[in-house]
């Protein structure tokens, strides 16, 4: 094989190497953007859930004590970042206020309570979805960043390693059907 052949092979290998690095970098970039978007979406849905909860507290869906506790927790949730413990506290307050499965099923049969509870269920389901989609994106990104090519070439740059969101968003039993 002459030197032109060797150069040609080297050139092809170099192009392939560059292409695979470019492909890995673009995938990583897309995943980082997906994680950012997922945090924004989670923030939006948690804000909505807190607004609905605050509204329900003022509508008199619950007894005055429960309403006060929920309203306070909802205000804190509205001001908290999406990873804050305030959302878990709102979840706990709402679970206590809405009661057990029997209570929720009874309330769903009362004409002026049913739409309010449905509104809460709907907002809560979206918050659950948003957190699951975020954590899935985080898992994929971490997996991608653990690849040798990504680590050796520092393809992630200075973007911090994404972390999953571990707030407690377990809904009251019987509110959001599984």
């Amino acid at each position: 094989m002459g030197w032109t052949g060797s150069v040609l092979i080297a050139l092809v290998l170099a192009i392939m190497a560059v292409a695979s690095v470019w492909y890995a970098a673009s995938r990583l970039d897309r995943m980082h953007r997906r994680v950012d978007n997922a945090w924004n979406s989670l923030h939006l849905q948690l804000t909505r859930r807190a607004s609905v909860a605050l509204g329900l507290a003022h509508e008199g869906l619950w007894d005055p004590v429960s309403s006060m506790v929920v309203a306070e927790a909802a205000r804190a949730s509205l001001e908290a970042p999406p990873w804050g413990p305030e959302h878990s506290e709102l979840s706990a307050a709402l679970r206590a206020a809405t009661g057990d499965r029997a209570q929720i099923e009874a309330d769903l049969r009362v004409a002026d309570r049913e739409p309010l509870l449905r509104e809460l269920a709907s907002a809560w389901y979206r918050a659950i979805l948003a957190r699951r989609f975020l954590n899935e994106a985080v898992t994929m990104t971490v997996r991608l960043r653990s690849r040798r090519l990504v680590r050796i070439l520092h393809l992630a740059g200075r973007t911090p390693m994404p972390e999953s969101c571990d707030i407690d968003d377990a809904p009251p039993d019987g509110l959001v059907a599984g």
Binding site: Y23, R27, R30, M31, R34, N37, A38, N40, S41, L44, Q45, S122, Y125, R126, L129, A130, R132, F133, N135, E136, A137, T139, M140, R143, L144, A177, G178
Partner: protein, 368 residues
Amino acid sequence: MRIGLVCPYSFDVPGGVQFHIRDLAGELIDRGHEVSVLAPAEDLARLPAHVVAAGGSVPIHYNGSVARLSFGPLAARRTRRWLAEGAFDLLHVHEPVAPSLSMLAMLTASGPLVATFHSAQTKSRAMRVASPLIRGAMEKIVGAISVSEDARRTVMDHLGVDSVIIPNGVHVDVFAQAAADPRWRATAERPVVAFLGRLDEPRKGLKVALAALPRVRAAYPGVRLVVAGAGDAADELGQLGPHRAAVELAGPISDAEKAGLFKGCSVYIAPQLGGESFGIVLVEAMAAGAPVAASDMAAFRRVLDDGRLGRLFRVGDAEDLAAAIVATMGESAATGRQVEAASLAVRRYDWSTVTERILAVYETVSGR
């Protein structure tokens, strides 16, 4: 919202995924969304206005049956054009790992992407072949949906992707309020056992149903086995001998006829041998108030709540199927309780609930 739906399988032939997409598009349009469906199709005259045909399809063995899929440069070009012209707020592809339009759309798409996994049997060999490219495409799925727990586990095992479960939808009230079709209405002397599914697709289990027939006839000499579905089963039917007289071929039936059959039958049987991830027909039969007996496989066991909502028999076991049919028709009090519980349980599969959940995914994914 402007929503693009991609169907991998040809709209020219009936199928669970096609029906799901057709009905979902209808529900979304009813709620005021703009919807366009991209699907393989050649018979353009029968397509609704919102379905865009991506051209012809090729029969491919996939997931234990023959699927009609579109691929190749023409399909790729049409997919790119549909995406460009659609300018969708959200793209929803179905069965994304099938080598099809869904995958073509995923490779091209840049906006928010939702994907629904229908199958519980993913071809991992095909996935390993194209692995790096497919992995890149999978990372574009912001909201992954599985139609059942079984489908979710398959996706988790093969692709390492977690998904939320939203079942397939059924128009529960249409089935609940249907009138029994006089052609197939059961009487005390002539009970009706209903079977639905392609006759020439072994995994639908027609063979098991036919093998169970002699035992059922011993207990109920007037029993009629009504077999609805396309395909040819002359060989199997020829081997039945004197029992052939009890089998009635209804051919392919419409949705309305299906509801009428369920409404009047004594029992609907689902003797599938495998490859089922959900069991939509089972839910439809339950919605119509038909007693049901189904193969004891994970997907059906879940739909029947471990036998609380209908009887389960060992997969592929004709003797056990015959016993289940005889028990369903003989033990009327127990069967009545199952039917009553089933009519409540199927509400979670109603399109009103299912559409609300899918829209929740759309809104979460698109950040609305």
